[in-house]
Amino acid sequence: MRAFLARNATQACILGILLATLAVFVAANPRTFLAAPIYLAFLSTIPFTAIIALGMTLVIIAGQIDLSFPSVMALSGLVFATILPATGSGALALVAALACGGLMGLGNGLLVAGIGVPAIIATLGADFFWRGLTMLASDGLARSLVAFRDSPVHALLVGRLFGVIPAQALWLAGIAALVWLLYHRHVFGDALRFVGDNPEAAAMTGVPVRRTKTLAFVLLGLLAAFSSCLVCMEMGTWWPTQGEGYLLLVFASVFAGGTSVFGGEGTVFGTLIGAVLIGIIEAGVVSSGFSGFWTRLIYGLVVLGSVSVYAVLLRSRRR
């Protein structure tokens, strides 16, 4: 038990922070935080961030970063919101949106792993490019998907199991399990660790460095596109600035979850807890009687605080 805790100190740490935060919210507003509805609301909103954060975790473990996912969400969401009304086929719309997201991820991968542009610049450029294309293609106008409230694709993506549990939470659970298996048990996860930890060592030991980086970007593209479809269905609309709000939330989730900014290590569990922590802060802050302006400040604080704490932890462990 002791050895287990020592090995998973970071996860224990983030779990402790989540429970402490929750305790504060319960104390500040017991009526809201001791009843079921707010938790069901969390189950419907947190998966949007968490699904992308899982993909981002893998990218950051590989020593990379992706700033383009908000625009990947926007453009693949537009594809979904265009094909669905045009053809009436949810399957087709979903597949096209995923293909679009995967291709944009591939584009990032080729820029970074193929041409050798640093990821932060490549994906920043890609973000502007895809956002611009999205604006041009949509004329900056939102698309209503309210007509598909009772469609099978709506039930599949964001329906309520037994009338209560949001389907997106189940999707999140499934995706988290899959990502966990990939990262902890699969050679791809092993390759990600070594590529992020020491790219030269990865190359010297026969790890396909470029393919591994590229696949990480593709996976994140797919997950961002999928999350966008969930958002479109849940909100009943696609809008041109979709995705922009998730930038901070996703990074805050990943870093609060203990994934190293320096690459090479991170955990799926940590990111999940991180996403939950970030997801409850806004509701908690507002229901505790503070203005909504506080939430951004607190998100920023969470990011800065967590990366600093983990940097110190890492340094002490090295010694």
Binding site: R193, M204, T205
Partner: protein, 252 residues
């Protein structure tokens, strides 16, 4: 000389980088159980040569034969080299510091099923054996979950060499294996190299520290500006002779 016939032969290896010639036609041979010291000044081409041998770079010209059979450089990379039993070892450049020991032992060639899922239990058991028997890391608290960051430089070198032995490497390329190590750690690494020889494995020992090379190598190849400037068997040269050879290879 009564040394056994070479099983590995590089001939006419040439490589240049953007017009700068790193190697201009180098021939190099290795026999089983032979330790060859590859020495020369900075920029002589030592590291380019071992990178070609280990599959990191492809040469512009030249050929490699293994057991008399030609190896096609077009399909030769690190993965292929390792599969053929040629493996480079470097304390900092071939290990992932933040990763547990067992992952470091198997990186690039995990015991995985067809779908790519790793047999973790088996790898950890195997890792314990390697750490205990080949690397000589012991003591309570030794765990395949320990991280490389906690090992000393000599232990890291031992881990990398143990890894090569565990996967039956026939040729171990040691690139500056004793740099930045304490005296005691150097002794340890040199004894690892002696173990390689005892197991009839060949090694290429690249180093600037001639006393270390002289202590364990059977033969010395001195590179100078991309060419083999001199070659000596250990019996024919002492340490000071080796020093003057490196300083003025042409004069010898």
């Amino acid at each position: 000389m009564n040394s056994p016939a070479p099983f590995l032969r590089l001939s006419g290896i040439a490589k240049s980088f953007g017009g700068v010639t790193a190697l201009a036609g180098v021939d190099f041979e290795l026999a089983a159980g032979e330790i060859v010291g590859l020495i020369g000044d900075n920029g002589a081409g030592k590291s380019t040569l071992v990178k070609i041998l280990s599959g990191v770079y492809a040469p512009d010209a030249g050929s490699l034969t293994l057991d008399g059979k030609p190896v096609d450089f077009r399909s030769y990379d690190v993965r292929r080299a390792r599969a053929l039993g040629i493996e480079a070892v470097h304390q900092d450049r071939c290990l992932g510091e933040k990763q547990p020991l067992w992952r470091n032992l198997f990186v690039g060639r995990h015991r995985a099923g067809r779908l790519g899922f790793i047999d973790i239990a088996r790898e950890k058991t195997e890792a314990m054996t390697v750490l205990r028997d080949l690397v000589g890391l012991s003591g309570n608290g030794l765990s395949p979950e320990a991280r490389v960051a906690g090992l000393s430089g000599g232990e890291r070198q031992g881990l990398a060499i143990g890894r090569a032995m565990h996967f039956h490497a026939r040729v171990v390329i040691l690139d500056e294996p004793t740099t930045a190590l304490s005296l005691r750690e150097v002794e340890r690494v040199l004894s690892f190299i002696a173990d390689l020889k005892a197991q009839r494995r060949a090694a290429v020992f690249v180093s600037h520290t001639l006393s270390h090379v002289h202590a364990v190598a059977d033969r010395f190849v001195i590179l100078e500006r991309g060419r083999v400037a001199a070659m000596r068997v250990k019996d024919n040269v002492d340490l000071s002779g080796l020093c003057s050879l490196v300083q003025a290879p042409g004069a010898a």
